[in-house]
């Protein structure tokens, strides 16, 4: 049986359902333990929660294995005008409230036919909902989002990211309300018209950037189960982020590999790379013509955007904190002109993006309680949980890094080519960890496989 704070029962029951345990007993703790004195917490636990635990362990559970009464893929779940469909989808929690294109069977079928995929192929079973990820469901949500059929291979690659245990999609409704950032690389950027220039991260500045990101939110809602009724426990949440397309022309000019190469893809590969981002901050009006002049400000941005996230350096997400710096092309060229590789930039940022040890310790073990035991960095180094650089001395004012190694500092290049700005993101560590998948744009060979010919689908 499981223990949860008040307000988490619905999520716990939904998670149980997704794992096949529909009737898992739950014991509830009143309020939130982090906002209670020790005495109040214990009194409430003994007086209110304890009996639920005993009962959950000893009271038999009614259980039946009756099948689901949910609609089948081709069932018509609503009929009406576009306004009526819109209202029905909002009322059922199937839409984000923006206008949708009605997903008729014919439209979804036509959407899939363009790339020839097997509509019934199951890519895997997704957490935490326990639902199958089918090409059909991907396409239904794509139609709703306003995607074009040629974007389906991008969506399939994103679905593979979500299914990869390394990504940890099940955490997408966690404490910070982080939202995914998709970085796209390859010739797919120009072929499908993704915007990598001015307004690269603005809603609507590039239609493919916007609708693919909207698909991701709809898919997380409808297939993964991230709604307030089920798995989304974000206190505030982030707005959806449009897809970030790298400026590969600028990269080629300075001799840097695309972002996807960081994850093992050869240059030129069409790929999507995804991580969940907690916070973002502007590093505006960067002034300087040499790397030495601009690194301190860029590093300051990385340090400034990093707070709670340090729990992913040691604690909750050991060694998984890996923030992102997005450079405008003109700033990337400052490094390129000086002959700096991306690794050199990472090393310089690692040396400059530092904070006092006392601040680090307060963030992970005093202002928050996410590193159990409230250990100091010296103790954590002693236990082998962080590298020695975090405890070169015991001076609380010493400066320590914000990541465990330079290669944890991600760098991408995009935006208005002639503006001297950068943007920094703090990521959510292992809770939506950097995961990259190649996009396969080859026409599928599932030619005989059609909606009406299900038995031909392999």
């Amino acid at each position: 049986m499981s223990l949860v704070c008040e307000g988490f029962e619905r999520q716990a029951r939904a998670t149980g359902r997704g794992l096949g345990f529909d009737r898992l007993p739950i014991a509830v703790m009143k309020g939130h333990v982090d906002a209670q004195s020790y005495d109040d917490m214990v009194a409430s636990f003994v007086g209110y929660t304890l009996e639920q635990i005993v009962s959950g362990l000893t009271t038999s559970i009614d259980w039946d294995d009756e099948g689901s009464a949910e609609p089948a893929a081709l069932d018509v779940v609503a009929s009406g005008t576009i306004d009526e469909i819109h209202r029905t989808f909002v009322a059922n929690g199937w839409s984000d409230g923006l206008a949708i294109i009605p997903p008729t069977r014919e439209r979804v079928e036509a959407f899939i036919a363009v790339t020839g995929h097997d509509p019934w192929r199951v890519l895997g079973t997704i957490r935490p909902s326990g639902r199958d990820v089918t090409v059909w469901a991907i396409a239904v949500n794509a139609v709703m989002a306003g995607c074009e059929a040629v974007q389906l291979p991008v969506l399939l690659a994103l679905a593979e990211v979500l299914l990869d245990p390394h990504y940890g999609v099940e955490h997408s409704g966690n404490t910070t309300g982080a939202d995914a950032l998709v970085v796209i690389n390859g010739s797919v950027i120009d072929d499908l018209g993704f915007n990598h220039g001015p307004g690269a991260m603005r809603d609507g500045a590039g239609a493919p950037n916007t609708v693919v990101a909207r698909w991701l939110r709809l898919f997380l809602r409808n297939v993964c189960g991230f709604t307030a009724d089920e798995h989304d426990k974000a206190t505030f949440g982030n707005s959806s982020r449009v897809v970030l397309a790298e400026d590969e022309g600028a990269l080629a000019e300075i001799g840097w590999e695309p972002f996807a190469a960081t994850f093992g893809h050869p240059a030129g590969t069409d790929a999507v790379t995804v991580a969940r981002m907690n916070s973002g901050a502007m590093v505006g009006s960067v002034f300087g013509s040499t790397p030495e002049q601009i690194v301190p400000y860029l590093a300051d941005g990385l340090a400034r955007v990093t707070g709670w996230d340090l729990t992913h350096v040691c604690g909750l997400g050991q060694g998984h904190y890996s923030p992102l710096l997005v450079l405008s092309p003109v700033l990337a060229r400052v490094f390129g002109r000086a002959g700096w590789s991306k690794a050199q930039v990472q090393q310089a940022l690692y040396e400059h993006a530092r904070i006092p040890a006392w601040r680090f310790e307060k963030l992970i073990g005093e202002w928050t309680n996410l590193t159990a035991g409230r250990r100091t960095l010296v103790e954590l180094v002693g236990a082998g949980l962080v590298p020695p650089v975090f405890a070169e001395t015991g001076d609380p004012d010493r400066l320590v890094p914000i990541v465990t190694s330079p290669d944890k500092l991600m760098i991408a290049v995009a935006g208005d080519p002639n503006r001297t700005n950068a943007y920094v993101f703090s990521n959510d560590g292992a809770h939506g960890d950097w995961t990259s998948k190649a996009i396969d744009r080859a026409y599928s060979t599932d030619l005989v496989c059609r909606v009406d010919n299900r038995e031909a689908c392999t």
Partner: protein
């Protein structure tokens, strides 16, 4: 006076109720469900215990939200209320929510069997 077609449509529509206008002007759609079928099989929960007397209770912790303070309280209360209760503490199974989450959760069934655990209390979801 000549009225352009779109104005004719506008003035004409003033004579109709909202629903009639919609029915007259709008196409309708039959739409499919945006969710997908459940891929996990429902599992029968383990039988509950007839009593906690003399049983081995395992604790599984995500190393968050004061479990290090609450599990000792739970252990003490269970031992006080039920004779012969034995506790297999959370540190035996490791941090089930940390960076080794998948690996440690996969090892959990074998660990519970090895320690002859009768029932598990897991926490804390906050």
């Amino acid at each position: 006076m000549l009225i352009r077609p779109r104005f004719r449509a506008f003035f004409g529509s003033l004579c109709l109720s909202d629903s009639a206008k919609m029915a007259y002007m709008e196409p309708t759609f039959d739409v499919v469900w945006p969710k997908s079928p459940l891929g996990t099989q429902a599992r029968r929960p383990a039988p509950r215990l007839d009593t906690l007397h003399g049983k081995r209770i395992g604790f599984a912790w995500d190393y968050l939200f004061r479990g290090d303070e609450l599990f000792p309280v739970l252990a003490k209360e269970l031992r006080t209320r039920f004779d012969g209760v034995e506790i297999v503490n959370y540190d035996v199974f490791g941090n089930l929510h940390g960076p080794r989450e998948h690996e440690l959760v996969a090892q959990l069934p074998a660990g519970l069997a090895r320690h002859r655990v009768d029932a598990v209390v897991s926490g804390n979801g906050c």
